[in-house]
């Protein structure tokens, strides 16, 4: 969680250098969901994500160097520089890909679960998407098929109550999202998404049920996006959400909560946390160094591989 936060804050800070020339959707404030879910998974479980992918990628064990290089548009990036922030992949750790067409990866995750079931593999497939994404018909087609075949899949709906600047009340009737999945025959779960332990506990149980053949699991987690929808900045000045709301949203900071909890429980000491932070900061610095010192590709590097051999 801390790692995700620090990586993204570093990205945000250096975005102004104009070397990361691509759209970038930060998940700062929402890290507990990625962290809590990923910690419930095995290395060979597979994961899919959307436009807001950094947290998912890192939580699943994705290489931070390759991600930063990707955002910098270098060939050493995890997608060879072709994808940027919105298309990251690290199949070596089961991170199967993220893409920014809303809803686009949802059926793919179902397909991966289907393939696992057909091959008799003991894997679960997980996909992250937002509350806005739930409005796409393809999600419902996916709900139907996964329920029909009782596939080992987890849908993780990160409900930050916004699609870009539009509130959920402008887009959906007032009913919880997960009840729709439930009606399709899914097991459904709902909790605060900023409480990493709660998220993790649910994810463990859900993954266990999915793996045991109890069929698809729908996890809805409430959370809050701190920064602008796309880009490195805060956007409080746009006034599409009140100061009060933003303050309340940030008060739920999953990191702060988890930190207090850990310290209170005596699980870690202040000093250990500082050390951890330092280690991560070093890792991040060297990731940026790696990115910036990677050779600069040219047009030709992004022109081939249209068709598979």
């Amino acid at each position: 969680m801390l790692r995700i936060r620090l990586v993204e804050e570093a990205l945000a800070e250096r975005y102004a250098d104009q070397e990361m020339r691509c759209p970038m959707h930060l998940c700062i404030g929402q890290e507990a969901i990625a962290a809590g879910v990923a910690a419930a998974l095995r290395p060979d479980d597979v994961m899919f994500s959307n436009h807001r992918a950094h947290g998912h990628y890192l939580a699943k064990g994705g290489d931070v160097k390759a991600m930063v290089a990707e955002i910098y548009g270098r060939s050493t990036g995890c997608s060879g520089g072709r994808g940027g922030s919105m298309h990251v992949i690290d199949q070596s750790v089961g991170f199967m890909g993220a893409t920014p067409i809303v809803g686009g990866t949802v059926p793919l995750a179902v397909g991966a679960a289907w393939a696992a079931a057909l091959k008799g593999e003991d894997k679960v497939s997980v996909v992250f998407f937002g509350d806005g994404c739930f409005e796409e018909g393809v999600v419902h087609e996916s709900l139907n098929f996964a329920a029909l075949h009782k596939l080992p899949i987890l849908f993780i709906c990160e409900n930050n109550s916004f699609s870009v600047y539009t509130r959920i009340e402008e887009r959906q009737p007032r009913r919880p999202i997960h009840v729709v999945a439930q009606a399709h025959g899914w097991d459904a779960w709902h909790s605060d998404g900023n409480d990493v332990e709660a998220v993790n506990a649910i994810a463990i149980e859900a993954a266990c049920r999915a793996r045991a053949g109890n069929g698809p699991q729908f996890l809805e987690f409430d959370t809050y996006r701190w920064r602008e929808h796309c880009g490195p900045n805060f956007d409080d000045e746009l006034n599409y959400r009140s100061e009060h709301e933003i303050t309340a949203g940030k008060a739920g900071d999953p990191l702060l909560r988890s930190r207090s909890k850990l310290l209170q429980d005596g699980a870690v000491s202040d000093g250990e946390l500082d050390k951890l932070k330092e280690e991560i900061t070093d890792e991040i610095d060297s990731a940026f160094e790696f990115a910036l010192s990677s050779p600069v590709p040219t047009y030709a590097d992004g022109a081939g591989k249209v068709y598979a051999d």
Partner: protein
Amino acid sequence: MQTENPIRKKTFAFAIREGLQQAMENDFSVILIGEGVPDPKSIFGTTEGLQEQFGRKRVFDMPLAENGMTGICIGAAISGMRPVMVHQRIDFALLSVDQLVNNAAKWHFMFDGKANVPFVVRMIVGRGWGQGPQHSQSLQAMFAHIPGLKVVMPTTAHDAKGMMIAAIEDNGPVIFIEHRWLHYVEDHVPETNYRVPLDKAKILHTGDRVTVAAFSYMALEAHAAAKALHSFMGIDIEVLDMRSVRPLDMDAVFTSLRKTGHLIVADTATRTGSIAGEVISRVAEKGWDMLRSAPVAVANPDHPLATSHHMSDGYYPGEQTIADAVIRMLGGDKVSGDYEQLCAALRHVGPHDTPNRSFSGPF
């Protein structure tokens, strides 16, 4: 004692089925899915018996959810399966354009070749018996515009089988378009497991007067025109069965044009934005010096098809249209007795809105 293979005459539908069957025998990761795949009509017979042979874990029916199911197949494909999906009409596949264009076509490219999408999507072009505006479209040009998709339209039963096997073995997405009227047409279909390349045109009729580059069912029409032109007017045109829409085998077109200097392109789609236009534009750009006259597209008129069989009579160009285009292009005369004989031979017998079963190959 006969040692040579005898001619094994089978329909295009049979050939598709045999291609699927052999591909599934070869490779356990091939799975087959589509609305009606295991039902009693088995997609016009093209999937008959496959569920019985390969089981319910590899041959599936599916919900009515074209975009979702396409995405699910893509997800399975990047996870090691080789799905084949069927749409009983290409018109239904319009629901899945997002997944085909945004994901299937680009996955390999955008992840720098780190993942493949081996995925065959069969789409059937309807014609006849009142298919009407929403069941008769021939939309190959839409898909052929998209880098990352291969698009093929086999014409003969022989090629249907060989291209099906090749398409399934291809490591990327292949849009496999079948004209409904071809399903009935017979050809020599060897029993062996063979491949036909996905990027090569084939000469159906040799000639040196005009090149006719034809797609799918129009290749049969062009072939019939070629035979009649030869028999009645002594004109030999070269008919190319293009077979592939993307990539286009322009080398084959240029090779033929070097002999003939005249080009007709016959397509199954409406004219504007068609692949016929694409072929002509490439010839104009790169084969300018070979052309001795203005190229001509033979394609459907630029409007949807009305359902009424009275109104659909006259919509589709055919053998006669092509023969006339050839004669006009060569400055030939249409009042001779020879021409009348040709017309008589090409005159359609029977209803215009059911397949002409007199086509029978082998090609």
